[in-house]
Each structure stands twice: as structure tokens, then as C-alpha cells.
Symmetry: C2
Subunit: 141 residues, 2 copies
DNA sequence: TTGCTCCTCACGTCACGTGAGGTGGC
DNA sequence: TTGCTCCTCACGTCACGTGAGGTGGC
């Protein structure tokens, strides 16, 4: 896939994807010489989707996302090691626990946002009801 | 209240409040000569809270918020007119309907965000469950 | 008088948007 | 060959952050 395909698939722009590469959030699978076209896989598409999602919905900065993505990459490397059967179970456990911590923190943020959105929804619904009532009153006169 | 009090009450910074004034989102109740301190009321605090809330939770730009706030201000003026009893009911109805439209659009955005957050929560919960299972498997060996 | 908070520039930053001018693949 | 998409600068923009230097109220 080329950069435009990824942009379309993720709902962003080519500029955004290039910027993510610029700050080290994305690598673009292959080695590439200056001027050559960037090439991407489905894995990259998923990664961009995940970045955009966490950024938009949870409001985390790209700097924070970089930390997180790097931690997940480390985890992926470990998992490969493990699948090849060369893994110390203690090290493996520590990685899994760390990953669990990441997920828990993200879930925390999700729930906080959900609570805030629920409150906003209530307030808006109340205003909506007031408006409807006033419109009915006008109609009855 | 002074600008620092408003910042503390709304969880933002004085710079943010000055910026909102700069782009015309906030007026700061009184007339003020250059160099004089800005003064605010509870109404201003509510306004800042509302702006921050819609910006953060719904991701609307300050430009869009300006349109919205201006529309609400127009509505407030109309309401005052109405309370003094000098109002054409047709004009009044149109204003109420417009306001209803605003609220409905905001509720739309709230619900879309809620749906996206629910999906994110599901995905994260699934990952959490997978992690726990793997940790248990490690413990059983 | 001493702190503290306020004021106005004004430059810096983050996360991109938007051309300008040029090259590469179907 | 003609479009289309890609490339690399590089400046612009939005929403503020962050001092610099100075003034105002308890």
C-alpha cells in the first residue's frame, strides 16, 4: 500500500502520516532511500487507526502515545522470542504485567470520559426538554 | 473575580482565558481600559466551563464554538426582550427552533462519541481478559 | 514597603495544513 | 505521452505555553 491508501483507510491525511513518521511514531515497513515512495502493510494501517483513536477519543498527546507504542513494540518483540521458545518465564511475566498496567490505565481514561459524556448528555437533554416545553406553550396560545 | 480565580474555578490557565477574549469568545463583563485588571462574574465562569467542556469532550474547534456561543447570546437577548413582554411570537418561535437545532446537533455528537468510546472499551476489555488469561497460564506452569 | 497577582508584548511549540517545485509508476 | 500520486522543503495556522519587563491592589 502507498501513503494515500493508508490515509484513505484511516480517515486521515498523507501529511499526518508523514508527520507521525517524522516524530518516530511510525516507521513505514521497509528501508527507504530519500525520494522513494513509502510502502505500508495492514499492520501499519491498524497502528495509524489506533493512534488516531486514542488521540481523538482520550485526548492523549502524541508524545504520550509514543511512550505507549514503544512499550507495545517491546512487548511484540518479547512475544516473538517467546513463540520461538527462548524465553525466561520471569521476564515474560513482568512484560505481561506491564502490558496489563497500560491497558488498565487506558480503561481508566475511557471510563472517566464516559462519565463526563454522560453528564454532558444529561445537561443537554434537560435543555432539550425545556425547549420543547416552551415551544408547546407557544403553540397552545 | 479576577482572572486567576476564573482559571482556578474552571481548571484552565489565565493565558487560555485571555486567548478566548482575544478571539472574541469571551468579553469579560465590564468595559476596561488598557492595563486595567479584567473582572469576571459567575456567568463568565459558567461560560468558560461550557467552552472547555465542549472543546475537550466533543472536539469542536474554537471557531465552531464561537458560532454556537454567538447564537446563544442572540437567544439570550431575545429572551430578555420576551420577558419584558415586547416580543413577536413568530420571531420567538423561530429562535426557539434554532436553539433546539443546536442542542440536537450537540446531542448527536455526544452520542457518536459515546458509541466510539463503547467500542474502544470493548476492545480494551478483550485485551485485558487475554492478558489475565496468559498470566494465569504462566502461574499454572 | 514587600509579595502576590495582574498587565502587555512577543517568541516558542505542538500537530498538523497548504502550497511550490520536482520526480516516479500504471 | 498524459494523469495521478508521490516526494521534499518550508512557511502558515490553531490553541495555547512561556518568559521578559512593568504596573496595581491588599
Amino acid at each position: 500500500m502507498r501513503i494515500g491508501d493508508v490515509a484513505r483507510a484511516t480517515g486521515t491525511t498523507t501529511r499526518t502520516i508523514r508527520y507521525y513518521e517524522e516524530i518516530g511514531l511510525l516507521t513505514g515497513s521497509a528501508v527507504r532511500r530519500a525520494g522513494e515512495h513509502r510502502l505500508y502493510s495492514e499492520v501499519d494501517v491498524d497502528r495509524v487507526r489506533e493512534i488516531v483513536r486514542l488521540k481523538e477519543l482520550l485526548g492523549v498527546t502524541l508524545d504520550e502515545l509514543k511512550q505507549l507504542v514503544e512499550a507495545e513494540d517491546a512487548r511484540a518483540v518479547l512475544r516473538e522470542e517467546w513463540e520461538r521458545g527462548v524465553e525466561d518465564p520471569e521476564r515474560r511475566r513482568r512484560i505481561l504485567e506491564e502490558a496489563a498496567g497500560h491497558v488498565d490505565r487506558q480503561l481508566e481514561l475511557v471510563r472517566r470520559r464516559q462519565a463526563e459524556l454522560a453528564r454532558l448528555e444529561e445537561d443537554l437533554s434537560a435543555r432539550r426538554a425545556r425547549n420543547r416545553r416552551r415551544l408547546r406553550e407557544l403553540g397552545d396560545e
